[in-house]
Each structure stands twice: as structure tokens, then as C-alpha cells.
Symmetry: C2
Subunit: 429 residues, 2 copies
């Protein structure tokens, strides 16, 4: 039986998980892969750190990019992270040397995926990144192979467990975003610097990959409209529930074949939609194909075990001789598809104003909607003590985002309307 | 660009769907597959039947098994159905001739899967059957490849849309099984002879495949304990709800590495479990791996489009040169694993007795439980008009099935207990 010789760069949670999977399941994996999987080298910041796994049997590299030069390494696992720098250098150098690359690095693929796919194609080596999107859920394989018979029109999901945990906690306890974030940080569910997670950037990285793979387009991270969850208040979660919705941070990509729309923002989703039942730190991806209809995939989006499961699945694919382009079609065939700007997005909206309730204010609001051809679906108001500040919630029928913005701006200018309005998009899922 | 030449045997809903997918997406599929997919021949019962697709460009076979002899066919799609007869002959003859086989035939694989896997291995041809389990959901690929890094301990699912539709309707409308089945037959959701569906046989076919693939065991359809949904009454659905459960027909396979347990029967599942949110005709499969934790896959389990999506995904895999054994490891390595008999199953139970309420009956019931070392978790009784027949519902703590059966038999013998008791297993999911 032949052997696939592996170098692992990066020994954080996922790197250690990858070592554990390969060493725990040696016999099982070689039966499945049709060849032995052997870790021959590792690299990380500190050689001496106790990680709970024995790495003394593997060759050590201070500089991971040197793995690309090693004659006895067939496949490099890149778990360093970051869109550029060492991670990119290692991936590129490895592919140029004809070594296969498996990576969990969503930022790298979201920024340089099309180039890396081309380099892999040129060298005949494979590059896979299952672990970069939705952790343990094998959704890239699902889209690239399992649903390969379909034209995909829309793909969306809960792609960041930290945000989903925070929103779930806010809903269940009524606490504020800041309060829940602080607790999540203490529990280790959120990073000390939570920007990438709570501001939607991590979700956008993953969406860029899903989008390119689903639609056969060049990866276009910069074309994604990104908003995070900092603006979500408990009162909006309550109003959402009253209206029959839950609030989730979604990444949504869709296409009509000519234009692609990619957006990351909090969404109101029907309370009985499957995606609304995805709780806590779980991730889920929903794909809509023209023949298969809707397929929903749910599982753990982070953590050493689940992410390593995806890393090793890619390794087994390569060991089995499975070669599919990173985005499902040859790199040269990936299309440059224009992005629909968010102003041109068409959807329904939830809008909350804080209003000093006095006569005439509703007539002014109604006038602002009419002036901008925006039509109201429903209105909710909790109390009507004259002179007090009360929240007024409206849902708007489908309209172009620019028209909604004009109407909301006009309403904000009404004297009785205090504080900036809150707008949350309502998704028909 | 090379061409993969395809013969399709069987032009029912799935066959027609397969023709439609391949003809609709010609350019897209060849970009993805790396070669052209060309239908060269078809076979069905009637050549003249109008199926809504033009088959005049394909060579016609009255006898589908002759496709195995055709030099210009690389891959045979078997959509005839049935565990033996023509379907089996076609699959075997095709593999022997070195032709790849794609089938949607769960009965064929559930009965002869291990043999067919060996024949494929011997000939170097591939056999895949994604469409045989859960329609459009790419769950076989998910288990065989996406989760290949994991030891799988349990896999379970809603594998029959007809049963799930009937149970969903019964819950939502309070109507009886017979009533809803009759309507489902009128609407075309259930067959004129619904035996395979409602008695759990169809689910068992699919479970046999999931089980072999997940655990690396020889397929063992006869080792499956099978019960259908005919015994489910609206009153049990109501009681389940009161107790915090929904009722689903599940196929469940689990192993401790030495013994395998495979069972199909109605289950009470926690009302907030993801599997309980799978509604109507949708299917779902849940896999539990030792590293990935829980992965849930949901989608359409039947219908021409979804099932054809799975058939064509297999075809694309073969066109891409992807070769993995049918059950993930070489046929010769599949283990013969003993089955745990249902008597030895350990679980919790819901039991409903109809009782003529008179003093002393509860003491007798409690005595019967104690006599058999079975312990009660809760009891529910709706009304207590003395002398009337009232339902008494108990939930039992985890116990061996044989002990539960002995206790229930003893209770049935109590004079005040009328009609046979209803037992539904409660699953910890």
C-alpha cells in the first residue's frame, strides 16, 4: 500500500485536531483512502508548547514555507490563517512544487481563491478548503459534487457560530448585545477582538467561497455588502417574534445568471423556516437548485474536532485520487459576473422609529412612504401615552432598497421622530 | 473533450428527470464533469408513451439488459426497480462488461449491495446509488467522503416522505391514519398499494444502505427490525405533544463497534430536536461522527427532479474519474457484524393502556412494573369518571425491551385493562 506524506503548518485547535484524527483512525482512514496517511512534518510558532498531542515523531520546521521544498511531503495542510503573508506564500510555493494543499483558511481563499485555483490547475496538484466554510459540514463537497447536476440560484446560511450564539442568547434571555458578547468572551465562545465575527467579515469570507462555487464565478469578496449584528437590540427581537420572525445573521448569495447579489446582514426569517431552528453555535447552509429544490445542511461550524473532520476529508479525497477544481469548473472558465449594488436590492423591510407620540405624526410618516412609492404592510405600536417616546414598528412590502432608504430618511427628518431608525431586512426563505 | 456515453433503463419520473437534467444543463455539466455527457440509448416498457421529453434521438432497447452488450455505452443508469429480476440482471451484466452503473434502486442495493460492490471491484467499473437514499440529499457522498474522517456511531433519519407526510397531516388535523392515507393516495402522495411505505420496508431498504456505508459492514437487510405507522392513533400524537414529543417514523442504525442495531419504527422524539422540524414529504438524515459531532441533512426525498439530481451527480462523479467503493472501503474489507436482537434494545418507552377505571388498578399496574424491574418516569390520565374506559399513559425509564414487554404483557392481563396496549419507543436524540 502506498503512503500519502503530510506536512501540517499550524498547530492551533484545528492542527491538533487534525493530528488526533489521523493518529486515532490510522487503520480506518487507510482502508477508506486506499493508502496510508502519514504525518511527516509539522510547523508552528512554538515547538515546546504542550498541546496534548505528541509531535516528537514529526520533523519540525520553524519556517513552514520550507515544507514546499521537502521531497518527502506530498500534501501540505495550511492552518496558519490570514489572507496573505506566510499562509499565502506556503500555499503558492507548495502548489508550484506540485504538492497538494488542504487549507481551512477562509480569508486566503476569499481573497486569492481564483488565483490559487489557477496555480493548482497549472501544476496538476489539488487544492481543497472544505474546512474554510461551516466547519464540519461537508457543504463545499455537497455543492461541488453532490448538487453538481443543478443550476444553483441561491445559497445562504448561518456561517458564524459566535453571532448565532449571541443572537440565540439575546432572544432567550432578553439581554443586550454588549452583555451577551462580554459573557461569550469570558466563556471562550468569542474572540477578545470580536470584529471579524460580529461585524460579519468572517461570514462574508465564507459567503464569497460559497458564491463562487455555486455560480461558477470568480471569487469577489469586495462585491459583498457586509453588516454585522451590533445594531440588534432586544426590543427588535421581541417585535420580530410578535410579527412571526426570528433574527439571524445570514450570508446570502443569489444570481439570475447575469448579476450576482452577495450580502451579509441580520435578517428577519419566518419563525418556522428551518434556518430559524438552527440554534446556538451551530451553522447551517441552504442551497436551492433548479432540480433538487432545497437542501439544508446543519452541523458544527467551528471547534477542533469538526474542523479537523473537514480537513481530513479533503486529505482522503486527495489520497483517493479525487481531482476536482477548487470551484467545480476549470479556473479559466470562472466568470466575472457583475454585482448588484445594495441600493438595487429588492426586499421587504422591518423599520422601527422612536416617536414622541403626538397627533399628525402618522400622517407625516404615511406621506413619506407615499412620496417614495413605498407601501406599508403592517404597523405595531406598543403604548400610546401622549407625549412619551414610543417605538413604532412598520413592515414594508417588497421595494427597492434605495426607495426604502429615501422614505426612512424623510421620516427621520420629522420632528416627532427621535433617534436614528432601525432597519432590518425581511427574507422570504 | 471526451464523451461519457449513457444508457438509461427505465423512463418513469426519475428516468424522465434524468433525461431533462442532462439535456437542460449540457454545457454546465460538461464544464463540471470535464467531458460531455451524452445519452445514447434508453429502454422502458412502452416506446410510444408520451413522457413530455423527446427520446427519438436515442437508440431504443426493448430488453434493457442488452445495453450491457453495447460497445458505445460507457455507463448504464438502472431505474427499473425491484430487488431482483431485470434490474439485477442489468446491473450485474453491465458491471461484468466493465460498464459503470448508477442506480436509484434501494431494494436492489439493500439485498445485493455487497455482491454488486464486489463485482464492481473485480471489473474496475464504478457503481453508485446516491438516489437510492433520501432522494436529492447527497447523503451517501456525505457519509462516504464528507465524513470519511470519522468513526460513525449512529446514523438515523426520516427516509420515507409518504410516512412523514401522513404523520404531519395527522398531527396538524387530528385525523386518523386511514383517513389521511386515503387522501394521500388521491393526491398521488401515496401508492395504491402503500405497504412498502407505511409498513416501513422502504425505510428499511434505505437504512440498510446507510448502515453498511457508515459502519463498514456487509449489508444486512434481514437484520433490521421493522415496524410501520399503521398503529399510530391521533390520541397518541396528542399525548406525545403533551409530554414534549413529536412522532416520526425513523430508521436508526447504531454500533458499539462489535454489534450493530438497525431498527425502523415510529419514535417519540423531543419536540425541539431538529429531526422533529422536518415536515411533510421532506426527508432528513442525521449522522453522528466521533470528531464532527452531529451533521443534519434535509431535503426532498422523492420526486423526479430531486432524485434525478442525485442520479446525475453520480454520473458526473464517474465522468470526473472519481472512484470510491460503493460502501467506502474495498468490498472484501466489509465486516460481518452481529445484530443486536430487538429484545435486547435498551430505551425509554411510551405505553398507553385503556383502562376501566376502578380502585386498585393502579396498584396492579405498579406491581407489574416492579415485578419486571421496570421503572415509571411519568403517568398521564385525562379523565377519571369511575367505570368509564379511560386511556392511561405511562413513560418508562430506560430499560431492556424484553423487560418492558414482560411488564406490558402482565399489565394486559389485568382485568380492568381493555384492548391491546400501545407501545411507542422514546428516542434520546
Amino acid at each position: 500500500m502506498s503512503t500519502l506524506r503530510i506536512g501540517i503548518a499550524g498547530l492551533g485547535t484545528v492542527g491538533v485536531g487534525t493530528v488526533q484524527v489521523i493518529e486515532t483512525h490510522k487503520a480506518l482512514l487507510s482502508a477508506r483512502a486506499g493508502c496510508a496517511l502519514e504525518i511527516v512534518a509539522v510547523s508552528a510558532r512554538s515547538k515546546s508548547l504542550d498541546r496534548g498531542v505528541d509531535i516528537s515523531g514529526y520533523r519540525w520546521y520553524d519556517d513552514p514555507t520550507e515544507m514546499a521544498d521537502a521531497d518527502d511531503i506530498d500534501l501540505v495542510v495550511e492552518l496558519i490563517g490570514g489572507s496573505d503573508g506566510v499562509a499565502k506564500a506556503l500555499a503558492e510555493k507548495s502548489l508550484q512544487a506540485g504538492k497538494h494543499v488542504v487549507t481551512a483558511n477562509k480569508a486566503l481563499i476569499a481573497h486569492h481563491g481564483s488565483d490559487l485555483a489557477e496555480q493548482a490547475q497549472a501544476s496538476g496538484a489539488a487544492i481543497y478548503c472544505e474546512a474554510a466554510v461551516a466547519g464540519g459540514i461537508p457543504i463545499l463537497k455537497g455543492l461541488r459534487e453532490g448538487l453538481a447536476a443543478n443550476g444553483i440560484k441561491r445559497v445562504y446560511g448561518i456561517l458564524n457560530g459566535t453571532c448565532n450564539y449571541i443572537l440565540t442568547e439575546m432572544r432567550d434571555t432578553g439581554r443586550s448585545f454588549d452583555d451577551v458578547l462580554e459573557e461569550a468572551q469570558k466563556l471562550g465562545y468569542a474572540e477578545a477582538d470580536p470584529t471579524f465575527d460580529v461585524d460579519g467579515i468572517d461570514t462574508a469570507h465564507k459567503l464569497a467561497i460559497l458564491s463562487a462555487l455555486s455560480f461558477g464565478t470568480k471569487i469577489d469578496f469586495d462585491g459583498i455588502h457586509v453588516e454585522g449584528i451590533r445594531s440588534i437590540a432586544p426590543i427588535d427581537i421581541d417585535f420580530a417574534k410578535e410579527l412571526g420572525y426570528g433574527i439571524k445573521l445570514l450570508g446570502i448569495a443569489s444570481t439570475d445568471g447575469d448579476v450576482v447579489e452577495q450580502r451579509v446582514h441580520p435578517c428577519m426569517v419566518p419563525i418556522d423556516a428551518p434556518i430559524n431552528h438552527v440554534e446556538g453555535s451551530f451553522n447551517a447552509v441552504v442551497a436551492e437548485g433548479d432540480f433538487v429544490d432545497t437542501v439544508i445542511n446543519e452541523g458544527r461550524g467551528a471547534g477542533g474536532g469538526p474542523t479537523a473532520s473537514a480537513v481530513v476529508a479533503d486529505i482522503i479525497d486527495i489520497a483517493r485520487g479525487h481531482r476536482v477544481p477548487l470551484f467545480g469548473i476549470p479556473a479559466g472558465s470562472l466568470r466575472d459576473m457583475p454585482t448588484r449594488p445594495m441600493d438595487r436590492h429588492v426586499g421587504a423591510y422591518y423599520v422601527r422609529f422612536n416617536v414622541v407620540d403626538k397627533s399628525g405624526v402618522f400622517a407625516d410618516i404615511a406621506g413619506a412612504l407615499t412620496d417614495n412609492d413605498v407601501s406599508m404592510e403592517s404597523v405595531l405600536q406598543r403604548s400610546r401615552d401622549p407625549g412619551q417616546i414610543v417605538p413604532v414598528v412598520m413592515t414594508l412590502h417588497e421595494t427597492e432598497e434605495a426607495a426604502m432608504r429615501r422614505a426612512v430618511d424623510q421620516i427621520s427628518g420629522i420632528g416627532a421622530v427621535v433617534e436614528p431608525p432601525v432597519v432590518i431586512r425581511i427574507e422570504a426563505l
